[in-house]
């Protein structure tokens, strides 16, 4: 069983590696997956943690970690903090100072930092919209890819973090776009998990009739809706998703019928009242709370929020009943039920100008030791890591985790980078703002496509 799991994971990820690049922006083919190399030249890896303490100077070292995980008591933030505390306990001369901000605030501040002097270890996203300009500016330290041969990174997961075949960061998660739903609420009302878009629309009407918000959507931030659009697009385009998007980004022409169709579906959804009132101005926390307080039947977000199942702040009757399904299929669409929107997005990197670069890399490597981020993440109910987690299956996983594992296992293709992260950051800014306008009906689909196209030029 374990082995099968691993192979399927790998297969899924291999497909991912082929698709990660957003064409025009990906500079190298993704064929040199990390594990091919591992197979080709097996070698003993010098893992720095094995150095004896005596080799180190006794001077106190202060590391600054800049993180996008402000909630340090749940999910990934908790995992990150656990590892930091462990590292400090093992290395008494090292203190690690954390500055944590919400995703949006984080990205803004990151760019400010990138101008002049960054913290030593930072959260990054291995996607063109975030990383291209950052790597061009050369603010991240190069990592030695050979160091990570036995870290069991899923094949292809490192590709988004490379430029000219050099590695600049490591992925933290394998993210899958999901519909979380409240199973008890579904059962009580006799609602069924939808298989097609039409089912979903009918379901939403029923849920609305019961006086409940069908889907909680964080539309205030723009990016979750762009991920949602990506998910729809995958169902429309199937494995052609990446090609179509990269072509559109390269030419600035988003009028391809598939993109238009997917956008129209999003507009129809919003128009049918699928999302909560005021979704286009509500933030992440508010949206999630709508679902975790039983005000909404579903919640659309990435697999990282699977830690909801273990969040003590959420009432047990809700958190124990959270389940997931993936975007239903579109009639006439090329994407099947098992073509999913997934990618290796978030991760960590080290600042090139860090005064304590060696220590920073050492800490980075420590975090990525397979029994740290990956294991703790799994134990704390976070979604899939970007490393092989099969060794840490305990049998005590939450239902949610099992389901997500299953989804990934059965995936026939994965999309790679979501649409908003496929272009330069001006494109990202534009689409994340324009998508609010198109979904709430104040911009037409054609104007939306023209506006995001213009931002690519």
């Amino acid at each position: 069983m374990k082995k099968r799991m691993l192979t399927t994971l790998l297969t899924a990820a291999m497909t991912a590696s082929v698709l990660t690049g957003c064409g025009g922006l990906a500079k190298e083919s993704a064929s040199t997956a990390a594990n091919d190399e591992a197979a080709a030249k097996p070698q003993i890896v010098d893992v720095e943690e094995n150095e004896t303490p005596a080799e180190r100077s006794d001077e106190a070292v202060k590391l600054k970690l800049f993180s996008n995980l402000p909630d340090r008591k749940n999910g990934q933030g908790l995992v990150e903090q656990m590892i930091i505390d462990e590292y400090m306990a093992e290395n008494p001369d090292v203190t690690i100072e954390v500055e944590a901000l919400d995703e949006e605030a984080y990205k803004t501040k990151f760019k400010a930092y990138a101008m002049d002097g960054m913290p030593d270890v930072v959260s990054i996203w291995g996607q063109p919209a975030f990383l291209d300009e950052v790597l061009d500016a050369g603010v991240l330290a190069e990592l030695n890819e050979d160091d990570y041969l036995d870290y069991s990174f899923i094949a292809g997961s490192l590709e988004g973090f490379k430029k000219d075949d050099k590695l600049y960061g490591l992925p933290r998660n394998t993210d899958i776009m999901l519909f979380y739903y409240n199973q008890k609420m579904f059962d009580d009302n006799g609602w069924k998990v939808p298989a097609t878009m039409d089912d979903l629309l009918t379901l939403c009407t029923e849920i609305q009739a019961a006086g409940i918000t069908p889907v909680a959507m964080d539309g205030g931030d723009g990016w979750p809706m762009a991920c949602f659009l990506t998910d729809i697009m995958v169902k429309v385009t199937g494995i052609n998703y990446a090609d179509i998007i990269s072509n559109a980004v390269a030419t600035g022409d988003f009028t391809a019928p598939e993109i238009k169709q997917a956008t129209q579906i999003l507009v129809n959804f919003a128009d049918a009242g699928m999302f909560q009132v005021g979704y286009d101005s509500q933030d992440y926390g508010t949206t999630m709370n709508l679902f975790t307080n039983g005000q909404a039947a579903m919640y659309c977000m990435g697999s990282w929020d699977a830690s909801m199942a273990l969040n003590e702040d959420i009432a047990p009757e809700i958190r124990d009943n959270i389940r997931v399904f993936t975007m239903p299929t579109v009639e006439g669409g090329k994407g099947g039920a098992n073509d999913i929107a997934a990618w290796n997005g978030g991760g960590y990197a080290v600042s090139v100008n860090s005064a304590v670069k060696d220590e920073a890399i050492k800490f980075l490597n420590y975090m990525y030791q397979p029994d740290k981020l990956s294991k703790y993440g799994w134990e704390n109910g976070v979604g899939m890591s970007a490393q092989d987690q099969t060794a840490y299956l305990t049998g005590n996983e939450t239902e949610l985790q099992k389901q997500i594992m299953e989804i990934l296992k059965n995936a026939t293709s994965v999309s790679g980078t979501p649409i908003n992260d496929c272009g330069p950051s001006a494109f990202k800014t534009a689409i994340e703002s324009e998508i609010q306008g198109v979904s709430n009906g104040s911009t037409s689909v054609d104007d939306f496509l023209a506006a995001i196209g213009a931002a690519c030029k």
Binding site: A112, G138, V277, G278, A426, K428, S433, N440
Partner: protein, 293 residues
């Protein structure tokens, strides 16, 4: 005395700290903005001079146009809603004697001393369609609730309401002080002539308050132009730039869209607009005052 008062080194030493702070914290950044405004600097890496390209782009930038329109709307909102209310309440408060007067004045001003960070988040909750105070009030009046106060169409008004609420006490206080400064003899004369409250208000209070109103109007227009913090936290310019303001927009462009050069170009235009508007308003009011005199 004269010699003492024209001692150059002493003068220099007195003015120097002020000048230094001004040069370092105001002039230097403006100079730097002008320079970066001519570049396509992304914030990192290379700096390339591109002439007036940024300014040409800015001219065609809908979001920036929207920012200026929003500022205008806000200014009109302040002048047509907040200020008439503030003057009226000030005039009414002036009629009140004793302790109650001080208590009301104190209450009205309280929102002003609360941090914008608290105000913006508080109103985000008040506007929340699911459990917000406003929709609960609507429900209490029999409305089904679920009104989307921050929708693309409503959001700018929602922002205006927050700002009016937050700044009401300030405007009220200034008018109140203005009214208190009016010679009571005038009111006595009016009441002997049998004038009622309204005629007194329009015949005496308003005309005599003209200079105060002018100052307040100027301040209102400028604060509408400079608006950033409330919007940054309440809507961050959204949905789809419908509540965008110049200051917030330049921040987004520089630190989010990686267009630092462009952000600075916005900053330069923004400064020029602020200076022009202030100077224009001052000269308009000055002329009026002179022609009146």
């Amino acid at each position: 005395m004269k010699k003492l008062y024209s001692n150059k080194p002493v003068i220099f030493s007195l003015v120097l700290p002020g000048l230094l702070v001004f040069l370092f914290a105001v002039m230097a950044p403006i100079g730097l903005s002008v320079y970066y405004g001519f570049t396509d600097y992304s914030g990192m890496g290379e700096v390339r001079l591109i002439g007036f390209d940024n300014y040409v782009d800015l001219f065609h930038d809908n979001a920036f146009g929207r920012s200026l329109k929003n500022s205008l709307l806000l200014a009109v909102g302040f002048i047509c809603i907040q200020h008439p209310l503030a003057i009226l309440v000030a005039a009414v408060l002036d009629k009140l004697q004793g302790k109650a007067e001080g208590i009301f004045r104190c209450i009205y001003f309280i929102p002003n001393v609360i941090s914008v960070a608290v105000i913006a988040y508080l109103w985000k909750f008040i506007y929340n369609p699911d459990f917000g105070l406003l929709n609960n009030i609507a429900k209490a009046f029999g409305h089904p609730g679920k009104i989307n106060w921050l929708s693309q169409q409503n959001a700018i008004w929602a922002v205006l309401i927050v700002l009016i609420w937050h700044g009401f006490g300030w405007g009220m206080l200034i008018y109140y002080t203005g009214i208190k400064n009016i010679d009571p003899v005038l009111y006595e004369a009016a009441s002997i002539d049998g004038a009622n409250w309204w005629t007194t208000f329009f015949g005496i209070t308003l005309p005599l308050m003209k200079p105060v109103i002018q100052i307040n109007v100027t301040m209102a227009v400028i604060s509408a132009l400079k608006q950033m913090e409330t919007v940054y936290l309440l809507t961050n310019g959204g949905p789809n730039n419908s509540t965008q303001f110049a200051a917030n927009y330049l921040y987004q462009q520089a630190f989010k869209a990686f267009k630092y050069g462009y952000g600075n170009a916005i900053g330069v235009v923004f400064i020029i607009i602020c200076v022009l508007v202030t100077v224009a308003l001052n000269s308009i009011f000055k002329e009026k005052r002179e022609s009146a005199a």
